[in-house]
């Protein structure tokens, strides 16, 4: 199978498989974050569990990081190879006549998502790693020891309007990426059949509802705290 992943189609499969993994992760991330709107206690409990469970931290988290890095690196490699496949560009190229803007600009939406992810990691992931694994505080408690810190940190982060606006833009790019990426991943693994039309509809709903939900969470915490 090593030859498979060195082929053009094998790389498509690899991109699609990492995309499936990331799309499942996004649902899980959203499911936890939306709890912060309805129940701060439940959000704190699940955040503490996810943040301290060894299987999540040392099993699933490295896989997730690998999946994210792999998807971006492979995406950029494929983009460079694809650009090289047409040495002389067209003087006039009417892409809008035969394809969607989203499908033609996955590299740009993906690039903006990467920028967003770097900011997101600086905001949440790096401080979390610092607290737990550098400072060694695995308690998850606030400085005064009165309850968990996760909900407080979340609402504190979404207080500045500039950060909320930045996150909203990031989620819009995520939506644009998913509007093509969801159904494209299924096509890449050879799934194009009688269920495709329904799958495309589901994919569009997914690509709109999930990022919109994240935007709602950011706005909710900004305007309620």
């Amino acid at each position: 199978m090593s030859g498979f992943f060195n082929s053009s189609i094998g790389r498509k499969y690899a991109m699609a498989l990492s995309a499936f993994f990331l799309m499942i992760f996004i649902v899980q991330h959203f499911a936890i974050n939306i709890l912060s709107v309805f129940s701060p206690d439940a959000f704190n409990e699940i955040s503490h569990f996810m943040g301290t469970n060894p299987l999540v931290q040392f099993g699933l988290q490295p896989i997730l990081l690998f999946g994210v890095v792999f998807h971006f690196v492979m995406g950029f490699i494929l983009e460079i190879r694809n650009r090289n496949a047409r040495a002389v560009k067209y003087a006039q190229y009417n892409g809008a006549a035969n394809s969607t803007w989203m499908s033609r600009n996955m590299i740009w939406s993906g690039g903006f998502i990467l920028i967003f992810l770097v900011i997101h990691f600086i905001d949440f992931w790096f401080p979390e790693i610092n607290t737990k694994f550098i400072q060694g505080d695995m308690s998850g408690l606030l400085a005064d020891g009165e309850g968990y810190r996760y909900y407080e940190e979340l609402t504190h982060k979404f207080a500045p309007l500039w950060r909320v606006a930045l996150y909203c833009v990031g989620f819009i790019f995520l939506s644009l990426h998913l509007l093509h990426g969801f159904s494209s991943a299924f096509q890449s693994v050879g799934a194009n059949n009688k269920y495709t039309r329904g799958l495309k509809g589901f994919g569009k709903a997914y690509a709109i509802i999930i990022p919109l939900g994240f935007i709602f969470i950011a706005l909710f915490h900004h305007f309620n705290h």
């Binding site: 053009s8 189609i9 094998g10 498509k12 496949a85 006039q92 035969n98 093509h180 096509q187």
Partner: protein, 248 residues
């Protein structure tokens, strides 16, 4: 109608090439696009110039030779047709029409609007066939029962004329619709099963060797294909290639 034509002129594969403007007048809307090109060439020859080289053969949408990229689309603005089936009624008096060759590293320009599409032939030679004993004892194909639905789908795939519009329209210059169609026409039939593993592996290997880009499922190829070859063929190519690699 009077038109301004912006045409890619390139004197051989080593020449850098450039866009050159031409004016044509009194073009009938009933002319085909290639007839309009004939009028232009006659005009150029009468003025002592070098006529524009372009591919054409049957001029009835069957052979797949005509290969122009017109106003940003392969075979022009109308869908489901080749350039020879495009008529001047699709344009307006005073229009400027940009005409370029199909652009892909695997389709090097021979001259002006003519490109070398022999990379498609090499992909076909790598596995786009079934081996049949023709020593005189050839079995009648109709003796093998074939599901009508499968036969129809195989026929749909087999209508690919290898014109290269899929490559030309794809932002990645990918040939996967062509290869998908050529793999599918056999993958859907019992006669194609014997050599299925080697066929798809060899054709994909040759496709990659030729320098075509990778499909990102934009669907441009399906829209621009003059024969309506669907994206299902690419999905089938992907799954056939995966199955072939699992089998070894």
């Amino acid at each position: 109608m009077n038109l301004t034509l912006k045409i890619w002129r390139q004197n051989g594969s080593q020449d850098k090439g450039k866009m050159v403007d031409y004016q044509v007048s009194d073009i009938s809307e009933n002319m085909s696009f290639l007839e309009m090109m004939d009028v232009l060439n006659e005009q150029i020859i009468n003025e002592g110039g070098e006529p524009v080289a372009f591919d054409h053969d049957c001029r009835e949408g069957i052979c797949g030779m005509c290969s122009m990229h017109i106003n940003g689309e392969p075979h022009g603005p109308d869908k489901g047709i080749t350039t020879c089936q495009l008529h001047m009624r699709s344009f307006k008096d005073g229009d400027t029409i940009t005409i370029e060759p199909f652009r892909a590293k695997a389709f090097p320009v021979i001259k002006d609007l003519m490109v070398d599409r022999s990379s498609f032939e090499r992909i076909q030679q790598a596995g786009g066939y079934i081996s049949v004993n023709t020593s005189g004892n050839t079995q009648d194909a109709n003796s093998i029962p074939i599901d009508k639905h499968a036969a129809d789908m195989a026929m749909d795939s087999a209508t690919c004329i290898g014109c290269g519009a899929c490559v030309a329209s794809c932002k990645n210059a990918s040939a996967m619709l062509f290869v998908g169609a050529k793999v599918s026409q056999y993958a859907l039939l019992p006669q194609g099963q014997v050599e299925a593993v080697d066929r798809v592996k060899n054709m994909v290997a040759q496709m990659d060797l030729e320098g075509f880009g990778n499909c990102t499922n934009t669907g441009a190829c399906e829209v621009e294909c003059p024969k309506g070859i669907s994206l299902e063929n690419i999905a089938r190519l992907n799954s056939e290639f995966f199955k072939a690699n699992v089998k070894g």
